[in-house]
Amino acid sequence: MLAGWVIVLASFGYLGILFAIAWYADRRADAGRSLISNPLVYALSLGVYCTTWTFYGSVGRAAASGIGFLPIYLGPTLLFALAGFILQKMIRVAKANRITSIADFVASRYGKSQLLGGLVTVIAVIGVIPYIALQLKAVSNSFAILASYPEIIMPAKAGAVPVIQDSALYVAMILAAFTILFGTRHLDATERHEGMVAAIAVESVVKLVAFLAAGVFVVWGINDGIGDVFAKAAAVPDLARGLTAAGAPASYGAWGTLIFLALFASLLLPRQFQIAVVENVDVNHVSRAIWMFPLYLFLINLFVLPVALAGLLHFPGGGVDADTFVLTLPMAHQEEALALLVYIGGLSAATGMVIVETIALSTMVCNDLVMPALLRLPILGLATRADLSGLLLDIRRWSIAIILGLGYLYFRVAGEAYALVSIGLISFAAVAQFAPVVIGGLCWKGGTREGALAGLAAGFLLWTYTLLLPSFAKSGWLPDGFIAQGLFGIELLHPQRLLGLSGLDEITHCLVWSMLANLGAYIGVSLKRVPNVREARQATLFVGGAEAAGVSGWRGGAGVADLLPLAGRFLGSERAQEAFDRHARQRGLKSIQELPADTRLVSFAETLLAGAIGSASARAMVASVVTEEPLGIDEVMNILDEASQIRAYSHELEQKSLELRRATAELREANSRLLELDRMKDDFISTVTHELRTPLTSIRAFSEMLHEDPKIDLAQRSRFLGIIVSETVRLSRLINQILDLAKLESGRAEWTVTAVDVAEVIHEAADSLTALFAEKRVRLELDRCEAGLSVMADRDRLMQVMVNLLSNALKFVPAESGRVTVGASGTTSEVLVDVTDNGPGIQLEDQDLIFDKFRQGAGTADVLTDKPQGTGLGLPISRQIIEYFHGRLWVESTPGAGARFVFTLPRQAGDNA
């Protein structure tokens, strides 16, 4: 017997078992041995997608439109083919940012905007309420039908019974209590509920087994296999149409629309996001779910059409609601146990959906709607209260109760106007509004906060107008005229033929308009400005994926002393302490007191808080203790500062490379000078050897002549010998001078520095040359020499200079009329000596050259022999000597008017001695 108390007992027994499973899984999780950390459990928990819509509603849909129930499951199959791109990316981003809901995800993506999080929450709550109503309707109906066993009586219309006798109300209350027990026992920073996931996975198995059992019974128990069911159906003209083109969805457009809707719903419904993204243990589990979840959908749909056809055959005339066939067929054949199993399966489908959905929604309501508002009210003083974790839990509990209450309200208001599937599709169309901002946010960096707000608002408004309000109107809560003639009787404003767009079913119609407005506003408004700093940073995190994750958005620091109490207020001080301990250990520190007050600690605290109160609120709370100015002109300046620092570095680098270039140039120059010196040395050697060869050649020539011809007469012989002697003298002088020069240049010359009387040296030098002057009949005048001028110098070297200058002058003055005068004068600091002649003078361009080695002034060569008269080393040696004593030697000359060689010596030239 299936008395009412048996059913109630079974229901509570089943819920009790679920609770035990959840409790055990939580225990295991706390011990670090997670039950749910495997791909199979992940795939099964994704089965929360299959609610009573699937369990009861699909059969109803199939009875009405043949194969038309299927797009709702083909869509998710297609989505999971793309899971490797979309879902895994979302999971990575969510884990890196501690994102706990879809509202958090959107808010976080567009610069942690509280307004955006709130809007997403509002849309999600309103959009999902019809869906919750659907569950209440299914559970209360299945209970009522089963309770009337063995009769098969359709339950009374929801609005027809007083609220107090309405079983749906009690279902709602029980589900609320169960969910509160389940999901809000304690506050978890990660917002993960291992126990819940384990229970959901078990529920997925139960509902699949129940449905397959019913399917097997209907196909092989009542009929003779699938072929038999279809053969019988084909014989009934009404049913035969449902299996072919005419029975398929009215248009292929609607079919495609449903696939598209389901594709996004399976990702964006708050409960799907919760299970697939937030509760995910390991991102690698996704890859197996890619085929396991579609396989689950395939199996649970395997018998939908046969059951629908069998139901239509068994209950002709429409007296039994097709949504209940899966339950009423076993009942009609007195299969009590199977009927009870089916009922439990339906209960599984409903509880799974309600638990996950309301927990997800309550998190969103608490974190993105209520807390931001409360924290802004200074009257409440929340910002300074010590422990807010209790308050957070209370807000969540109340949210769960209120959401289920709203679900019940919608059920009372509009529940009877639609079949289960049609109610669910309203919700699908609502969450599809998240698609542009979520998918766009993952692939496009240009989206801005205003764009997301505008897109969501536009899409939501059109959804409300074209789908939600008509659902109220159909159940008589809004005037009939609204859907009969359009708003205010204006046909163009007709909610289901907006601007005259007709020929579409209401879902497709809503989707066309809302998506057009949503996408248009999102992209259009986003393009009004470039993303600001914070949006751009979040965009990089979301679009760039895991590589970019972990970048801290904080530019200030705060210590443990500030952050620990803050976290404690929301998480409870014990949990906060634990989390900080863990963080300290991860960073290799012994205690939390050692944690430095840096941006890493702030980011850790922010993500920790984000788990409890949502990313937008967390940012606001952390900002209150972090010594950081809000993102404004200051932060922009900071960023600019960084930029200018980088510029400074690069400037420095540039400078360095410039220096390097300069050094290179210097080196190159030094190198070329070395090469030049090398070349000069080669020149010098070749000149020296040339100068040595000239006297040697003549000595050899005359010696050979003397040696080979003994008959040379005496006069000739003595002339030759004379030449040989003078050439030898010249040669030895040359060699002496070269040695002398080499010694001077290498600094190895020996100097004996004494006080030297300049006039005395001049006279001595003149004396030694008297014979030569007399021979050439040149006058030498020493009248201008002052006596008593003394310098510190090497007497012999100074003598050498004087002799050089005098013999040099003698060489160039003409014989007979030549005149050489020598003068010496002194100032306090130096002595000046000059040797002046009346020779041909020296060309201006030669005046420097004559001090180079082996260079002689023009016109010094003997015209006949082309033999230079000097060695070309006298002046260079003289200059070396004078410079050694810190003096100067130069020549002043006007061509044709003689030359004047001058040298100076400092009075105190003894320093080098």
Partner: protein, 66 residues
């Protein structure tokens, strides 16, 4: 577990195939009366192509060594 760099593109390719298999105009080819071993062609087509697609997805994800 997705090791091979080809897995994601292969799955994306299956996504495109699925979009074509499950939609107009291919759907209209099977959307007619008559039967296929006693079953409606549309039903057989959708269920078999769906199962085939899932099998291919499983094969792409689970195969090793490439």
């Amino acid at each position: 577990m997705i090791r091979s760099r080809l897995v994601a593109p292969r799955l994306a390719f299956l996504f495109l195939i699925g979009c074509i298999l499950f939609n107009y105009p291919l759907l209209s080819v099977f959307s007619r009366s008559g039967d296929f071993f006693g079953l409606p062609p549309l039903y057989v087509w959708l269920m078999s192509s769906w199962a085939g697609l899932i099998a291919l997805m499983a094969w792409v994800v689970e195969r090793r060594g490439d």
